[in-house]
């Protein structure tokens, strides 16, 4: 699996989570190596099949995490509603 520096992990987290905030392309351009390739897939999912196994594995991990976050967020909102 790809190993990211804290900076790369932070940048990728932002472009993946805040997917409708402008400036994602520029943020990805400033990355290098596998981190950049991971970012490119999130900008253009059709590139997924062109990537190495390591990059695809990292993309899959981020997608799973994003789904997991959605589930946690839904649970949190449900708890909030009950608490009011």
């Amino acid at each position: 699996m790809v190993e990211l520096t804290p900076h790369e992990s932070s940048v990728l987290t932002r472009i993946i989570v805040y997917s409708r905030v402008p400036g994602r392309e520029k943020a990805v351009e400033e990355l290098s190596g596998d981190a950049r390739k991971v970012g490119e897939v999130f900008l253009d999912p059709s590139k997924y099949s062109e990537m190495t196994d390591d990059v695809r594995e990292a993309v899959d991990h981020f997608r799973l995490w994003l789904e997991n976050n959605r589930r946690l967020r839904e649970k949190r909102l449900a708890r909030s509603r009950r608490a009011r």
């Binding site: 991990h61 981020f62 994003l66 997991n68 967020r73 608490a83």
Partner: protein, 411 residues
């Protein structure tokens, strides 16, 4: 006060990015937190003060920490730099950790007088010592892997493996890491020898999926006094009539807060760092990470001993859950002046809801797997604002002794 409340409410979720596609503020806060190294302030220099995300608000007493739910105001001490890291950890409602109280044997000869390495003569009555972690005869990586396999067989998934302070030498850490699956995180104490030109190393290595290894040094060296020399039986190598300082490098002090999800921020402390109130404890208290892991080289983790006392302070205010882990070897070396030794109590758990729980290593076991489940409680600020039941507390929900499978046993 109104401005504080507005800023606090606007900052819900900073430091733990979630799925909010168009949240420009969240995106900017996350960028600032990373770019300005450990502060959310854009215009106030971090040498003046720092503002960090916050996971717990104290529910007892009344301090400036009682005024916010999502933001913590921290001292600007240059002594310790907080780093805020995010890593994509897949969090379930519960997660399992494998605790390996390694080494299972500590020899007195692993402690060494290195007073001669001091650049200047020390005052009478003081000395330097080091502890040598490396014992190259052991296939540690294979041992850890087999424990992970067995724990996974029993619990389904093991999300992380934890080893105590100074459990491994650097090369052992890399060997252990390479044998564990990438999706399993590893938190381990790593030690290195002192030389004529370098003090010893006592640090924690944190290895999370997708994230390059993170290193954090111990902030406070251990001082062995007469009572401890006798307690650990070290009198043959370190005279009890001196005070012995651990000869380790304590420069470049920083503290990592690792954001694993919106519910879970983790901090790891090494031994003395749990006990000393500054500089690190003030930061921990301000941020209130959901889970604090203390890696120790200490005696049994019974409820009466110091680690449980300091863990109780953190669990009470601000509400952290604390796991302390020592090695079985060090625990065995410790002999109480009176009463039976309880050396099999290698770990201790304390959270905001219950009294400290001792975790024992049964005679046939080599490690202990624990399950942690998230519990939620509403927290309030001093001005009466509530958090909609989002404050998260990992609680201990399972303890399972794990042993390496013997030939013929099911795997």
């Amino acid at each position: 006060m109104k401005l504080v409340a507005v800023a606090d409410e606007a900052s819900e979720g900073v430091g733990a990015p979630e799925s909010e596609g168009d949240d420009v503020f969240g995106n900017t806060a996350s960028t600032v937190l990373e770019m300005y190294v450990g502060t959310l302030c854009h215009e106030i220099d971090r040498t003046r003060l720092r503002v960090l995300p916050k996971m717990h608000t104290p529910q007892n007493g009344l301090t400036d920490r009682s005024l916010s739910l999502n933001l913590s105001l921290c001292d600007s001490t240059p002594e310790v730099v907080p780093h805020w890291l995010s890593t994509p950890f897949i969090q379930r409602d519960s997660f399992n950790l494998l605790l390996i109280p390694w080494p299972h044997e500590v020899l007195v000869s692993q402690f060494r007088d290195v007073t001669d390495l001091a650049p200047d003569a020390l005052p009478e009555g003081f000395g330097f010592f080091i502890y040598e972690s490396l014992r190259p005869d052991e296939d540690l990586a294979g041992f850890v892997h087999s424990l992970w396999v067995e724990a996974t067989r029993r619990l389904g998934t093991v999300h992380g493996v934890i080893l105590p302070e100074m459990a491994l030498a650097e090369e052992q850490f890399h060997n252990v890491r390479s044998k564990l699956p990438k999706e399993c995180f590893l938190v381990a104490g790593v030690g290195g020898s002192a030389t004529a030109v370098r003090r010893g190393i006592n640090e924690v290595r944190l290895s999370f999926p997708l994230l390059k290894e993170v290193v954090q040094r111990k902030h406070h060296p251990w001082k062995l006094n007469e009572a401890q020399i006798i307690q650990y039986g070290l009198g043959g190598v370190l005279t009890p009539f001196r005070e012995w300082w651990e000869c380790v490098d304590i420069t470049d002090r920083h503290l990592n807060f690792i954001s694993l999800s919106g519910d879970l921020v983790l901090a790891v402390l090494i031994c003395e760092d749990l006990a000393r109130p500054d500089p690190v404890a003030n930061l921990v208290r301000a941020v209130g990470p959901n889970l604090v892991i203390a890696l120790l080289m200490d005696g049994p983790q019974t409820k009466e001993r110091w680690a449980a006392r300091y863990a109780t302070v953190l669990a009470d205010d601000p509400g952290c859950s604390v796991l302390a882990l020592t090695s079985f070897g060090m625990s065995q070396l410790s002999r109480p002046r009176a009463g039976p030794s309880r050396s099999r109590v290698v770990a201790m758990w304390k959270d905001a809801f219950d009294s400290a729980t001792e975790i024992e290593l049964p005679p046939e076991a080599d490690g202990v797997a624990i399950s942690l489940s998230m519990r939620y409680r509403k927290e309030y600020t001093a001005d009466g604002r509530g958090d909609d039941l989002t404050a998260a507390f990992p609680i201990l929900s399972g303890v399972h002794p794990i042993s390496t499978p013997k030939p013929g046993e099911p795997r």
